[in-house]
């Protein structure tokens, strides 16, 4: 259950719509099923009442939508931002990707959004999902009622939530949280401790399942290029479907490299990946390396901060040492 109720969000949205501060609201609405929540735009109170959804499946990060929304040149848009979304909000602002005046940001506290694929692993044909005091029960067609412990359904990004603190908002609904020190690098360390062959086998297994649907790129708030190198025939690396295992690796290595130092670890890429490839482990590896080699850095913590990849000191470590560093825990 989310700490803040749906009515609070809807009333606030209606209020801002009516007094003209905003002319449209970016919120969540019901997709195919209850748990299938997708972003939607609401322009009037009626639409809000009928369509607006707020619950345990509102995982979408709206920051990236603002790039296109604010370019539409209409009035201001109201957007609900969970704590981890606010970091992407700031990172996009640092890169001048949207006009801050065109946005009215409402900070919404969040205590973790559920990962439906974890329910689907053991329950077929889910009809509805409801929750009382920490227990989630899914009513299904074939397997009857299945109850789960809420924490077991949290995706990695929420169980290892890095910060409940809102770093950007015009107005905050509910209380602000704190930056948490989460075990988000444990998984990366586990991989690093494997031998090279094991790591190669692990990633070969994972990446070979990639169908290059580009969902991870299209949802990533750091991937907002006008034209991506992989779509641009002139770039020399242009490819649609990966015709060889090399191209799968190439796509994911280059994408991770392009967002290195800019990725706020919001976990959207893993959330939307239809093949459930743990893409966040790639980005986290870069974040872990950057923290270790060049000092703690959280992308999007404040607007205008200089990412480590576009910075240097005269006594950085040598690339050979960077790899040896892996030796200790390999």
């Amino acid at each position: 259950m989310q700490e803040i109720k749906r009515e609070v969000l809807v009333n606030k949205a209606k209020e801002l719509l009516s007094d003209g501060t905003v002319d449209r609201v970016l919120g969540w609405k019901r997709g195919e099923f209850d748990y299938d929540v997708t972003p939607g735009v609401f322009r009037s109170a009626e639409e809000l009442d009928s369509g607006f959804v707020w619950g345990d499946f509102c995982g979408a990060n709206f920051s990236k939508y603002l790039v296109k929304e604010t370019a539409k040149g209409e009035g201001r848009v109201l957007v609900f931002l969970k704590p981890c979304d606010t970091y992407s909000f700031n990172q996009l602002l640092t890169e001048h990707r949207f006009d801050r005046e065109k946005v009215y940001a409402l900070g919404v506290p969040c205590n973790g959004m559920l990962d439906i694929s974890r329910i689907k692993e053991s329950a077929e044909g889910i009809v509805s999902v409801c929750e009382e005091d920490g227990k989630v029960t899914a009513d299904t067609l074939y397997d009857g009622k299945k109850t789960f412990d809420r924490d077991a359904l949290l995706p990695d990004r929420c169980s290892n939530c890095k910060s409940k603190k809102h770093v950007a908002y015009d107005e905050l609904l509910g209380s602000d949280g704190e930056v948490l020190d989460s075990g988000r690098f444990d998984e990366v360390e586990k991989l690093e401790k494997m031998t090279a062959d094991e790591r190669f086998a692990f990633w070969q297994g994972e990446l070979s399942r990639c169908i290059r649907c580009n969902a991870c790129r299209d949802v990533c708030p750091a991937c907002t290029c006008e034209k991506c190198v992989f779509d641009n025939p002139d770039s020399g690396v242009e490819n649609k479907a990966a015709a060889d295992s090399f191209e799968e690796k190439m796509f994911h290595i280059i994408r991770a490299f392009h967002v290195a130092g800019r990725c706020t670890d919001c976990g959207e890429c893993s959330r939307v990946c239809p093949q459930h490839i743990p893409l966040h482990l790639l980005n986290r590896k870069f974040i872990k390396d950057i923290d270790e080699f060049y000092g703690e850095y959280q992308a999007g913590a404040e607007v205008g901060s200089r990412a480590p990849v576009v910075n240097y000191t005269t006594d950085d470590i040598e690339p050979s040492q960077a790899v040896e560093r892996g030796e200790q825990n390999a």
């Binding site: 190669f200 070969q204 090399f246 790639l282 390396d289 240097y312 000191t313 690339p319």
Partner: protein, 144 residues
């Protein structure tokens, strides 16, 4: 010499001001190093894009080495500092994906270090040859 002695294919990106001049000096001094190393001249080591490195591996290279000026000597003041950070992260990621470490390398060679250039190339070629063919980053369609 064995009949089908495996010969590694090595691409070396050399920065125009220091390491390319170091390579020339190695030539002037007639210092021998394996012919498998082919040099591409770039204005500065910071011009080398990770895409070029992966492209070389895709096309069948077995080792890629990036040579630049010693930190502090860069003709463009800060070029090699950026190379150092980019390649530190890239090499760490490649290692994370299980690619052999000795296939990629960054080396600082000044225009006066012809001997060091030849020795580095010889050492790198031997290490790559000992690893054998690049199986983990190869594109089967580009196989010779």
């Amino acid at each position: 010499m064995q009949v089908n002695e495996y010969k590694p294919l090595i691409v070396a990106f050399c920065c125009n001001w220091c390491s390319y001049a170091g390579a020339d000096l190695a030539g002037n001094n007639r210092l021998n190093y394996p012919a498998d190393v082919k040099i591409i001249r770039v204005p500065c080591s910071c011009r080398v894009n990770p895409m070029f490195i992966l492209r070389a591996f895709q096309r069948g290279a077995d080792g890629v080495i990036i040579c630049g000026c010693h930190p502090g000597d860069c003709h463009y003041t800060s070029g090699n500092y950026y190379t150092r950070r980019r390649m530190a992260l890239l090499f760490s990621m490649l290692d994370y994906l299980g690619i052999e470490r000795e296939r990629t390398r960054v080396e600082w060679v000044s225009a006066a270090e012809g001997a060091k250039f030849a020795a580095t190339m010889k050492d790198f070629a031997e290490k790559v040859a000992s690893l054998g063919e690049n199986k983990r980053l190869e594109d089967l369609r580009c196989k010779k």
